[in-house]
Amino acid sequence: MSVELTHYLIVGAILFSIGLYVALAKRNVVGILMGIELMFNAVNLTFIAFSRFVESPQPINGHVFVIFIITVAAAEAAVALALAMVVYRNRSTIDIDQINLLRW
């Protein structure tokens, strides 16, 4: 029994859908952010798996993409958590069903 590209792609698909569920269904903003990070991880895993298995002139490009994704994810996490702090300071909660300022 050997491990092929398909195995990694299926693991990535399951991890992505778990992240999607967490990001869509959790009530706490921190929980939603955790789901987004899980989705980033699934996509990175898929990139690395393709980079490892698929023949290409520059196979290292997948790794470079993942480095950039990790960089942008770090920036995104910092800004998103700062936003959560600002919302908490103004509303004393970060539950998304109580943050309904834009509802009409």
Binding site: V3, T6, H7, L9, I10, V11, I14, L15, F16, S17, I18, G19, L20, Y21, V22, L24, A25, K26, R27, N28, V30, G31, M34, G35, E37, L38, N41, I48, A49, S51, R52, F53, V54, P59, I60, N61, H63, V64, V66, I67, F68, I70, T71, A73, A74, A75, E76, A77, A78, V79, L81, A82, A84, V86, Y88, S92, T93, D95, I96, D97
Partner: protein, 163 residues
């Protein structure tokens, strides 16, 4: 990849990664969910090592398991009056359906496609090649990434400043 060590490592790391990702959904305490998330990040780093991506694995441990999880823990600790029960909203049913459909679609396509051409060997070294690619071919995105990080840092500081 046929050698026994890699296969065993793949299955163990897959179980750890997906199990702890599932426990992010299931556990009813947000702090425990964050700890499961960290374990899931470490599991993904292990999967990177089985794919001979050592540099990315180290970056994953440093940035995800180190920096981002500490950031998430800080955000959780600094919002003490909010609910910690890791509960779902009314969107639980549709989200479950959408996530299931997404997993079924991607996994089905991945299983149905013929990947028999994709049999390249592992990388000998990755850090050297990544460094060369970042400083030759991708030097402009590399510089822009530093500006993005600076802007995000300044933006986060401005947002949370008291005045």
């Amino acid at each position: 990849m046929d050698d026994t060590g890699t296969v065993v490592a793949f299955w163990i790391l897959t179980i750890v990664t997906l199990g702890s990702a599932l426990s992010v959904v299931i556990v009813r305490n947000l702090l425990h969910a964050v700890l499961s998330l960290i374990l899931s990040f470490v599991g993904v780093a292990g999967l990177y090592i089985t794919l001979s991506a050592d540099f990315v694995a180290v970056a994953q441990v440093l940035i995800y398991a180190g920096a981002i999880s500490v950031l998430i823990l800080f955000a959780m600790m600094l919002t003490p009056r909010t609910a910690r029960d890791n509960a779902e909203t009314f969107l639980q049913g549709p989200a479950l359906m959408l996530a299931g459909l997404t997993a079924a679609t991607i996994a089905g396509v991945a299983a149905a496609t013929d990947w028999s051409e994709a049999t390249r060997g592992p990388f000998a070294t990755t850090a050297e090649a990544i460094g060369e690619a970042l400083l030759n071919r991708y030097v402009l995105p590399f510089e822009i990434a530093s500006v993005v990080l600076l802007v995000a840092m300044v933006g986060a500081i401005v947002l949370v400043r008291e005045d």
